[in-house]
């Protein structure tokens, strides 16, 4: 059976490399001039670097433009990065600032239209159509997740249930009674729902769910299998950040071989986060975006925290839009343990391959003389034995696997089921105690 691929905007989605390059070059020239003329921050920055908009003719010239950092948005809090007067802004969103002030983004009516178009493409790329009933369990509010999905889902003509996050019992009731076919939320919350269903003895096959679109936190391929097995659905990774629009920057197609970035609206690059130099296609590094069509808050070479790899080959789905690998980790999530760099997602990937290990685990890093990594793992019925030797083998197996694959020394601690706190939003799987003591 050949795979089915749905498209919202077939013409744009199936443009070839050359056509995409042409669109990007043309739009890049325009947005650079727009930033120079309308955003004092960029005007100043260009002048400081002896750069003029005319110097940017094609994508190859993009490296001449200085990187924009998240700190720049914070320094210009709340509205100084806006390119239009407030009367032209129709919506404000903000990202949850884990430290200090949030980053604020403003949308013109045209920006909302663009975002809606991108979300329509994004949702349909997962083969969700107007036949579907989408239970949107992303938070509605300043966070972009809820409204982003909402507009896109309505655009394609699907039925949206704007339930927002939390209240799991109600989520399940709605899921049963309204026969939701699609669930949208964070991957952690999908697992939380799955566990809840199990505790209530509800057979997942009695539900109508068939697709899940999960994002807002990095999740591993192994976690995908867990979610798909637990909920009997097809799980897709979605990527976005509020600084660019929110969800809808990139999405997996049914190939699940990377997330297509909508290149008629964004130019992605990979740079070395250490020295800011651009990396080649296929090399790992930090993801950088230039927005090509945004009016409210256009961004040139905006550095994200996300570590990934780009692939510009044509995909089996017919799209040439560049694919980014599932985010490997966030630059500031990277753990340095006794000099070894490791992303929590890499630890998770190894853990999920071990039979009897569930997604309920926690990484705790502490320091006495050397860094200590303690891994709390909930014991599952599969791993439980009346024999201590078998339980200890289970522990050792985890420790050895982490050492042989990632060269990290972990002390595994087995804990009772339910002991690791479940999360409704983004999962807190890493606790670093070192920073407190220094």
């Amino acid at each position: 059976m050949s795979k089915r691929y749905e498209y919202w905007n077939k013409e744009m989605e199936l443009k070839n490399r050359k056509e995409l390059d042409e669109i990007q070059n043309k739009r890049l020239r325009a947005i650079v001039k727009y930033c120079y003329d309308n955003v004092p921050f960029y005007n100043k920055k260009f002048k400081e670097n002896n750069l003029h908009p005319d110097d940017i003719k094609t994508k190859d010239d993009i490296i001449k433009i200085p990187i924009t950092y998240k700190q720049d948005l914070r320094d210009n809090y709340p509205f100084n990065m806006f390119a239009v007067p407030m009367k032209d802004i129709v919506r404000i969103h903000a990202s949850s600032g884990t430290t200090g002030k949030p980053t604020v983004v403003g949308y013109t009516a045209k920006d909302i239209e663009t975002w809606t178009e991108l979300m329509a493409r994004t949702i349909m790329a997962t083969n969700v159509t107007k036949e579907d009933i989408i239970q949107n369990a992303y938070g509605y509010g300043l966070f972009t997740g809820g409204l982003g999905f909402h507009y896109g889902a309505e655009k394609i003509g699907a039925t949206v249930i704007p339930i927002s996050g939390g209240n799991t019992e109600r989520q399940i009731l709605i899921m049963q009674d309204f026969k939701s076919t699609v669930l949208t939320c964070t991957p952690s919350y999908s697992l939380y729902i799955a566990e809840y269903l199990k505790n209530l003895d509800i057979d997942v096959d009695s539900l109508s769910l068939r697709v899940g679109i999960f994002g807002a936190e990095p999740w591993s391929e192994a976690l995908r299998s867990k979610i798909e097995d637990a909920l009997h659905i097809d799980a897709f990774d979605i990527y976005g950040l509020s600084e660019l629009c929110g969800p809808g920057v990139s999405i997996e197609c049914p190939e699940k071989a990377g997330l297509h970035i909508w290149e008629d609206h964004f130019i992605p690059e990979i740079i070395d986060p250490e020295n800011g130099e651009q990396k080649n296609m296929g090399e790992q590094g930090a993801l950088v975006f230039t927005t090509l069509t945004k009016e409210g808050i256009p961004l040139l070479r905006y550095l994200t925290n996300d570590i990934t790899v780009l692939n510009e080959e044509k995909c089996n789905c017919g799209r040439w839009h560049i694919r980014m690998r599932k985010v490997i980790g966030r630059a500031d999530d990277m753990l340095i343990i006794r000099g070894i760099n490791v992303f929590p997602s890499e630890v998770e990937y190894q853990l999920m391959k071990i039979p009897g290990v569930s997604e309920n685990y926690q990484i705790i890093i502490d320091r006495d003389i050397l860094d200590r990594l303690i891994l709390k793992v909930e014991v599952t019925p599969e791993a439980f034995s009346d024999k201590v030797s078998e339980m200890e083998d289970f522990k050792k197996n985890i420790e050895q696997r982490l050492y042989s694959s990632l060269q990290i020394h972990a002390n595994v601690e087995l804990v009772a089921p339910g002991k690791i706190e479940r999360s409704i939003g983004k999962a807190k799987r890493v606790i670093d105690l070192r920073t407190k003591n220094i």
Binding site: M391, L414, A416
Partner: protein
């Protein structure tokens, strides 16, 4: 064959009290018990009057529980009684995973977990040792 209930218990204050309270509230009596403990957790193994109910009660309370068959037999109350059994198992290549005991007013009973239950049971029977059935043990 006797059904033993094994329970995962973290090493934390109050865990055991909570556990025994649950059993008491459900009128489950412990006939024999042993704990294997490590630095972070313990495995409690118990023989109770009603193993099926016990497992249900514990599972509903979200305990991690498993059920294991063990052998229960009488041991002579004199020096070398247990030694004889250990030898018998060793000579016949049966690995004793663990054992523990309980006393009644009349006799000492050993509960033993081995890698080959059938073979161990036959060996004991052939050696003239009294083996208890589940119901005999549950109703001590």
């Amino acid at each position: 064959m006797v059904k033993q209930v094994s329970v995962f218990l973290p090493n934390e204050p109050g865990v055991l009290a909570k556990f025994t309270e649950l059993l008491e509230n459900n009128k489950i009596n412990i006939r024999a018990l042993t704990v294997a403990e490590t630095a972070d957790y313990g495995i409690l193994r118990i023989i109770v009057n009603n193993p099926d109910k016990c497992i249900e009660v514990l599972r509903n309370a979200n305990y991690l529980v498993s059920e294991t068959d063990v052998l229960a037999f009488e041991v002579e109350d004199k020096p070398g009684g247990l030694h004889r059994i250990a030898n018998l198992m060793g000579e016949n290549n049966i690995n004793i995973e663990y054992l523990y005991s309980t006393l009644t007013s009349k006799t000492a009973i050993i509960l033993m977990r081995v890698n080959d239950l059938e073979k161990a049971s036959t060996l004991l029977k052939d050696a003239g040792i009294k083996i208890f059935s589940g119901s005999e043990i549950y109703s001590i």
